[in-house]
Amino acid sequence: MEVSVARLTVRFGALAALNRVDISVATGERRAVIGPNGAGKTTLLNVIAGELQPTEGTVHLGERDATSLPTWRRARLGLGRTFQRSTLFSRLTVVENLALAIRARRRDSWRFWPVGDRALNEEVKGRLEASGLAHLAGRTAARLGHGERRILEVELALAASPSALLLDEPMAGLSAGERQTTLGRLRSLPKDVTVVIVEHDLDAVFALAERVTVLDHGVKIADGPAAEVRADPRVQEVYLGPI
């Protein structure tokens, strides 16, 4: 699914968190959004996901103008996301966390008595193994380590089988091994899934994304193939630091 924003402006009082930003991510593209702290990256994801209403501008998901759609409707159009701070079902087990995500995708929760669900159990099992969380299946999310929480965070988004996925710093604070697992999971996404990733870990950014958008103080300052953006002197100045 194509994800695009046009002339997007978000003001918090006098501060413009985003200022006339145009970004268009084609179907199946892997796009990284980078920039220093406070550049407006998370704000951008929140506007696309529908948690924040833009002051001006539009959000399109595929052909659809999604600017005024609520979060859950955008999710049903195929938009998935992860959060910068892990947003899990803390008091529920890893298995129950995954089951909720799968059920939400299947939209068959309007049933009012207990049902045996072999397909659900099988899928949960598969995702547990693929994500390396199988040994933690019965543990509540609140009792997971930081890295494990981040992995579950990504796994919940994947379980929704999104056709476009917004990732907000999925690698933050992960060990080298966990990083590899997450990178592997993201690489295993079907080719037609659009990915927008906000990430500080530049190795991960360049390993995953073919195109990069750079934000600084709410303004888009560069947008293009990874190698080009990397070489752009303005980008080096604001983001990578003066050389």
Partner: protein, 315 residues
């Protein structure tokens, strides 16, 4: 793997409890049968509140409104010479559910303390209506002389619900049906989704779940069960007064759920019995029994947040 199946021990315990209760009319003095009946009705009411407080995470402080609406609906119908157990219980459920539609639609736009205050405000409005709509409710005098229904099968056996034992068994059956229905609901895909919304509404929305609809459905279902409890109360007392809708009823039910243990259905039942017997025991010795009940409540919240059920679970 997904659901811990109810252990055989737990089911055996529940059956034993049900049988012990069923034997009450055989040996208990008349007064205690009456008290146990009140406790069962209160237990049904508390279980319905637990669906909101425990499972959906919605602290409603206006649940007595639906109890009262159910009681008045049942009373009005019974006084118009409608006889029959099913229609009288059903009208309580339907009237309460209908009242819950606008109240839920507005209150559920908020959460937490705001939800609590809004439900309280709406409930007090309905209480005011019961006091002031004299042509329908007879105001503070209330509706009196509500007959108890007959049941064709029982009539041939020469048993009526005017006998305390028979009426007690009726309440027990309704309580068990409520328990089983709500337990099934809690373990259903709907109940699991409700649980997810309680734990993390933001994530559920991001997963494509229209969370408002689920909460709204839970609110209406809980109101319906509260309405059934209210209908039983109207039959049991023989009258319906605005007191039934007063906020103290909502408060007492909250105490019962918290003391017994939310997020389990046996908890509110134990809590209801505990609160009712504490009220009875304390009020014979001290005038300000609420003070002691309140202290007990605070002690539970501080030292036993899992309630009576948590005490058993821990050991």
């Amino acid at each position: 793997m997904l659901r811990r199946p109810a252990s055989a021990r737990y089911i055996a315990l529940l059956l034993a409890l049900a049988l012990a209760l069923a034997s009450v009319p055989a040996w208990a003095p008349r007064f205690w049968i009456y008290i146990a009946t009140q406790a069962l009705i209160f237990a049904i009411f508390a279980m319905s509140l637990d669906l909101l407080l425990g499972y959906a995470g919605l602290p409603s402080f206006g649940h007595a409104a639906f109890y009262g609406v159910g009681a008045y609906a049942c009373a009005l119908l019974a006084l118009r010479e409608v006889d029959g157990l099913a229609p009288l219980l059903l009208v309580g459920a339907v009237a309460a559910a209908l009242a819950a539609v606008p109240i839920g639609a507005l209150s559920l736009r908020t959460t937490g303390i705001y939800f609590l205050m809004l439900t309280l405000a709406f409930a007090q409005m309905l209480w005011g209506l019961a006091v002031n709509w004299i042509s329908l409710t007879r105001g503070t005098d209330g509706l009196i002389g509500i007959p108890r229904p007959t049941l064709p099968g029982l009539a041939t056996l020469n048993i009526t619900f005017y006998e305390r034992g028979a009426f007690f068994i009726l309440c027990l059956v309704v309580a068990i049906v409520t328990f089983v229905s709500l337990q099934a609901l809690a373990r259903s895909p709907f109940g699991k989704t409700l649980e997810g919304i309680r734990e993390n509404e933001r994530r559920m929305r991001a997963l494509g779940c229209p969370t408002f609809r689920y909460r709204f459905a839970a609110f209406v279902v809980a109101a319906a069960f509260a309405g059934v409890a209210g209908a039983l109360a109207a039959m049991s007392n023989g009258y319906a007064t605005p007191d039934l809708l007063y906020w103290t009823g909502s408060g007492l039910a909250l105490v019962a759920v918290v003391v017994g243990g939310a997020r389990s259905l046996i908890g509110p039942v134990l809590g209801a019995f505990f609160v009712l017997f504490a009220q009875l025991g304390l009020s014979t010795f001290v005038e300000r029994w609420e003070l002691i009940l309140g202290t007990l409540f605070i002690a539970f919240v501080l030292f036993l947040p899992g309630g009576l059920v948590g005490l058993v679970r821990r050991t």
